[in-house]
Symmetry: C3
Subunit: 483 residues, 3 copies
């Protein structure tokens, strides 16, 4: 097998690519242009301006050389392998969100939600590679990062990785962070479900992961000003979850509720179409969180299983608390509340997973599980239509989890820390609300945000994508009428 | 980013939490009480007596300090990371069981089965954290463990981890073992499906994972008397699978069969509603078993891939054997038999995965795959209604796999070992049957076990949870009539 | 717990198994024969001729001893653990292919496709264990490997592992390679869906993974002649994907199109029945590819996250390009094209994932995403019926990805390398076409290949397996009529 032999020979991958090597790319373009027609070829290239920079011959950011076999070298490899495995688990969360949200919505919009949740990580990968990663982790001021766009630097100091764990390669850190950015974007998807135009969501995903999320993320994780005043958000209750929640809140507000949700001053429950895949989604998210939180240690060490344990305790407590709360309040144990309770526990332990005790984790989860039940009613009462409960889970419990660090942190809990947490939650929320409002407003003025009422009644699957999710299954009458 | 800096500062997590730090918890409780109403707040707290101990200020069980960089230290981290990854795979098995069982049952009970399979790991996490882990691994007699409840000790010797692999942290070992406990409980779920009250299952899950499973587990894995006489069950054919099977058998016996299953002296097949998710569940379980068996090495070493290979061979052989057997016996290759055959192979290799040859693994799997086909018929013939075949897979093949160690173990096979295995199977079975019968009887006398015939006909989704799994899909007439 | 103690005692597993230890196997066979009847017992044994060799008492291939704790030893364990995790991810791809293909086909054939995709890895495991692994990696000529059948050797040099990474155990390498072989076979499954007899697919799977795939694989990865002339296929764009594609192409050609696909000189779209599970399948495949490509480094090193990053960039680019292309060409963004675009990006980066730049990866993916849209139309235009688009994804983009190494490889790109790549694609394609044609022809002449038109109209679930996938869901009229 030529693999290893091949690998050894390619040790000079770090050098610039000579122009002589690129000679085939243009001719290939010519061939494609002839085959496909100029319009098609360039239209998809034009839609991805990120790709334009590709023709420039820059320094290829190659992976680091294999180290000679020292204990330090083995530990470095272990760090990278673990964080990569964690990144894979976080990327798997896209399947979790996709199944969860699709199942919680109506059958007639399933293809649309699936398409949104699937493409959002593809878009995030490209925008975060081109811009977002540099704005978040590149050197610069305490307000915004810069430099090393398109992963053009192979030097870990360009992205501040030397401050975090000098063992990590640029690629390991990038992949892990890109997976996180995708999570923020996918939360928005749930809030705007069943009524947004696919094209507007497409562009918004690029904007939030390319600009909004990276800037506030820089403040906390990129060495920015919030980290300097002591704001603690270990794995992203605020940096990821409440940011996604705020952007989604504004999306839901700009869009307005789905037709029929608030009729005659009454709130009408619009049940989902597939609780099996929603439950599957919840369980995928549960194990995905074992990448999300423990992976945020950014190293392989004994903190990792500790974090996994607090994470698991909070998830369990959240699920049980939401079930019992819904049982008492509504008379029956509600599966969707059980699902959202588990997620509430997970979101709320995210900020403090490394620094609270087991019993703190259980309490944080219990409270989150109760909160989420009442939060769902709250958003209904203020006429914000959040089809899958994403605001109750990610926004409300993201805030709760961040504040909980001020209460339960084994080292730092106290009035001062609580106030710092509160301020962090506030400024990141404010910034995200403002910036995402600008994005939503621009999209409303140009592409338009919402599908037509006719399309909404028939379902976005037909209107936006031209196919249905479940061929061969007879529809219920009520579904035909638009519910 | 403040993460690493933060981590370094929290090195004193192991010390007792001063009262001054807890001052917010009571006031938070007051606030919650005012907001939510006393009844709601305390009702869910009261339902989780485990949480009551939380107000006691005990020593926080902190994770161990990062070791200075030695070869031993790197190996220790690697051990923990691998066992954590294995634990994540085992936790993912909850999704496997959930999809498998839901798909094998009827549409009208899908929400109920999903809810049971989802909450069971949440309940297990809490009960095993509070009590079960200590009964199973805490020091004590050869009959029952004790000490270190609520993970209150950070010392690995409290839980006998020093005897197993001193590199593992308490948290790594706890999470791995909690995942195993959840598996035992979720097996019961399948046996009692489509007719049990949700509340009774809820309590039974706490009881089996808090008391029954840990005690028999202590005998084998906690240094108890069965391990001392040489009983071998490497990863739990008996400790996990047959225990879950015996408890489920008693549940099925106490409940009686579903309405219509045994009519006019005939066995009526009640087909499932979603073979797609059942097949998905099988494949998730397959990869979950790569955590279950190889992770039971409790260390990262070269035994791990060997165990993975025997596990995979047995799964493959079981699937092929069950398919061919069902093809010959019933005339067509049955998908549900293929699924159960793979699981039969996996369950039966679990006891001996580390100590049999490849051909031994294949033979164990082949025999299991044939056994499972006939076991399904056997339980029908004795009028035990096991909706998803869980008894045939977990109980029968769990026993077979444990005995197979006496036949195929490369080192120990022989009459003596076979008799030891037989005795272990017998006493663990007897104990589990007696204790779970007591549990089921208490539940029958208090909460009641079975839903009303009316609810069973309409479906437990409406009766127990008030929602249906598949909105927007027209029902078949036969499903309306209760099938 | 007896585990560790037990493990230490079994250190002599490598020695031959004495006959005295095997005394129970025959008596067990006797017992089984009496219980089950001679016909049943021997029929399934006879169907698996691989099992016949088991009675021979050979040297058990035991796993290597745990090394004493050196840095080299820890690194060796880390290599094995990482490649095992990668193997698990690749095995999980069976769930991805199963869900993807089932969802893209019609409801009436769901059980059949699920059964095919589930059993294919079981069959592959057994045939690759018995024969395939030795033909691919055993020593021998540049044309075909040999030796060490049934994993009978525990010496890594028997399978050439010493040339690749002497740290890997035989079991780690076998499991990883068996997972790859399964992928090649499962690709065929999609091409022949909805019309092939289950029995013919069953046998063909054994033949391709036992003989065809291993021989061409030997040429590239087993030290054969293509590797010696410099052909580069890092993780299998050609070795796995185009091989599966060629075999599937011949299957589709031998079978002919589904009834109604090409009517009155028109191509009729036959939509799938469950886009939710297809999307889930795509996301499972996405994360599975993080085992497929980075795992092909066959070691834990810093190349691993680099490869994961190029893989992810190409997947993202492929998904976006296919969406935009389908949007422009068909007027709406097509979910099935988004799914196939992501897979097209993944397949096409597979050959060059370790040796192209980030921008090279993006370009490879973008082009693959556009190609796949037009390839679907191409196969329709030549009247090859490929129900799930497997040829467009795996064959066409497998070829594209292999050739792309000649264009984008940072070290080797150039006319010479391009020609070598072209030749490798050609000869492997030619060999696979010829050998699989022989297999298909033999099957057609003996078992027959295609189900009857009546069975095809009613659905293969009833005809081949006697059950339906979705009980309790009312069928649409059109589905009853055979669509």
């Amino acid at each position: 097998m030529s693999r290893l032999a091949h690998r050894k020979k390619t040790k000079s991958q770090g050098r610039p690519i000579g122009l002589s090597r690129r000679v085939y790319a243009p001719s290939l373009t010519d061939i494609l242009e002839n085959c496909l027609g100029k319009r098609v070829l360039w239209s998809w290239l034009a839609c991805i301006p990120l790709a334009l920079a590709i023709v420039v011959s820059w320094v290829a950011a190659a992976h680091a050389q294999d180290r000679s076999l020292t204990t330090e070298g083995v530990k470095a490899v272990l760090d990278n392998i673990w964080v990569l495995v964690a990144a894979i688990l976080v990327i798997f969360m896209n399947a979790g969100f996709g199944m969860l949200e699709t199942g919680f919505c109506r059958r007639k919009n399933a293809v649309n939600i699936l398409a949104k949740n699937l493409i959002v990580f593809a878009l995030t990968t490209l925008s975060f590679w081109a811009i977002g990663f540099s704005l978040m982790f590149g050197g610069g001021s305490g307000l915004i990062g810069s430099g090393g766009f398109f992963l053009s630097s192979g030097d870990i100091s360009t992205y501040g990785i030397d401050r975090l764990n000098p063992n990590l390669t640029v690629t390991t850190f990038f992949l892990f962070q890109a997976a996180f950015a995708g999570t923020a974007a996918t939360i928005v998807s749930g809030c705007v479900a069943e009524r947004i135009q696919f094209s507007s969501f497409f562009i918004f995903s690029l904007l939030i992961t390319g600009f909004s999320y990276p800037i506030t993320g820089h403040w906390v994780w990129g060495g920015g000003w919030l980290s300097e005043i002591g704001f603690i958000d270990f794995a992203g209750s605020t940096v990821v979850h409440s940011v996604g929640g705020w952007a989604g809140l504004m999306g839901a507000a700009f869009l307005g509720p789905r037709i029929g949700k608030f009729q005659n001053n009454q709130v009408r429950a619009i049940p989902g179409h597939n609780m099996s895949i929603s439950t599957l989604g919840c369980l995928i998210l549960w194990i995905g969180w074992f990448g999300f939180n423990p992976g945020s240690a950014l190293a392989a060490n004994t903190a990792v299983p500790y974090i996994a344990t607090t994470t698991n305790l909070a998830a369990a407590a959240g699920g049980v608390a939401a079930t019992v709360t819904s049982w008492r309040v509504f008379g029956k144990p509600d599966l969707s509340m059980l699902i959202n309770g588990i997620l509430a526990g997970l979101v709320s332990i995210t900020a403090g997973c490394a620094s609270v005790s087991y019993q703190g984790a259980v309490l944080i989860g219990l409270i989150a599980g109760a909160i989420v039940v009442f939060a769902v009613s709250f958003f209904d009462s203020v006429r914000i239509d959040d089809p899958v409960g994403a605001l109750s889970v990610h926004l409300v419990c993201g805030i709760w989890g961040t504040l909980a660090v001020g209460i339960f942190d084994l080292e730092k809990a106290g009035v001062h820390q609580f106030m710092v947490q509160l301020m962090g939650v506030g400024v990141i929320g404010l910034f995200t609300v403002i910036l995402s409002s600008i994005f939503w407003q621009i999209l409303r003025s140009t592409l338009g945000l919402r599908v037509t009422p006719e399309e909404e009644m028939v379902g976005l699957d037909i209107g936006e994508h031209g196919i249905e999710a479940y061929g061969g299954f007879h529809k219920e009458a009520s579904d035909m009428e638009g519910y």
